[in-house]
């Protein structure tokens, strides 16, 4: 049997800014529609139709934004670490664009998870904030995000900034398993995971199904705003190349006509 060489063409295409710009442009309307649909279904279902919690009453409805924000905050950081490895090992430029653009989105999601958690904590635990393992490790995640942003903007040279960002993203990823297992390793007020791969959720389906919708909606939203940021960053970084000059000229011509 003849062995077929692994086809890496897609990987190299993905690394080409021009191809990425065109492809992401075609994805945007689909991502936008998916995001709006998923979030609308999840939020309406979660706020209006999910049954109230037997202990917490209606305050538990905060779960439909708190858990997706927290999940996304952690996933985005893992994505940044992966992009950091790809950027360092294969010197792929687009990996650094992704790392730079994901950081502000991830930071706001971490802040949202912390804020909605505090708001939820007040009626549930009787306190806005406790120095608890889960909460503290999430706060560290916020500082890691801010560190990645600050480090990148403090270094003028683009290659050095990319390297520094990548290293911090990779080192900081150690915090992610700490966040995940914090509720098991330490005594904590925070409840355990809502979704696990091995067990059925402890809540009834009409409670966790809306969460699935808002969760997927947050991921689609992340994809959408990440692409928006990356496309602008690509136009700026590749400003000297022919395709960007053509694209900017086309965009300006379209703007002038309107």
């Amino acid at each position: 049997m003849k062995k077929r060489p692994l086809d890496w063409a897609w990987f190299h295409r993905l690394g080409s800014p021009k191809w990425f710009y065109g492809f992401s442009g075609r994805c945007l309307p689909w991502l936008c529609g998916t995001t709006v649909l998923l979030l609308a279904i999840g939020v309406v279902w979660g706020l209006l139709f999910a049954p109230p919690d037997y202990q917490q009453g209606h305050s538990f409805r905060i779960i439909y934004i708190h858990v997706p924000a927290a999940m996304l905050a952690q996933s985005a950081y893992v994505l940044m670490a992966v992009a950091g490895v790809v950027g360092l090992v294969w010197k792929m430029k687009i990996a650094d664009v992704l790392l730079q653009c994901a950081a502000p989105v991830g930071a706001t999601m971490t802040a949202l998870a912390l804020a909605t958690g505090a708001i939820w904590g007040k009626p549930t635990w009787g306190s806005w904030w406790v120095w608890d393992a889960r909460l503290t490790s999430m706060l560290i995640l916020l500082f890691l995000y801010l560190g990645v942003i600050a480090l990148g903007s403090a270094i003028g040279n683009r290659d050095s900034a990319a390297k520094a960002r990548a290293v911090l993203a990779i080192v900081g990823v150690i915090n992610i398993p700490i966040i995940k297992y914090s509720v098991e390793w330490w005594n904590t007020l925070h409840q355990g995971a809502t979704f696990t791969l091995t067990e059925k959720p402890a809540m009834p389906a009409e409670m966790w199904l809306p969460l699935l919708f808002t969760g997927l909606g947050f991921y689609a939203f992340f994809g959408l705003v990440l692409l928006l940021r990356m496309r602008l960053e690509l136009l700026k970084r590749e400003a000297r190349s022919r395709w960007v000059q053509d694209e900017v000229a086309a965009l300006l011509a379209r703007g002038a006509r309107q």
Partner: protein, 58 residues
């Protein structure tokens, strides 16, 4: 539907302030994440248009 009336819906069983401030904050964060890149792109294209006009001044 878990609520008998709109006022009951907004009250959220005495937890209205918590639920609505959390959802309001969420809307704000999502909005900022969309508006930020959108405005940055507009600023960039405006700067490019200015540059283009200066370079091609008759």
């Amino acid at each position: 539907m878990m609520f008998a009336s709109w006022s009951e819906f907004f009250a959220m069983g005495h937890h209205g302030l918590y639920v609505w401030s959390a959802y309001g904050l969420c809307a704000l964060v999502l909005g900022v994440n969309v508006l930020g890149p959108w405005r940055a792109r507009r600023r960039y294209l405006q700067a490019e248009a200015r540059r283009w006009r200066q370079e091609n001044r008759p």
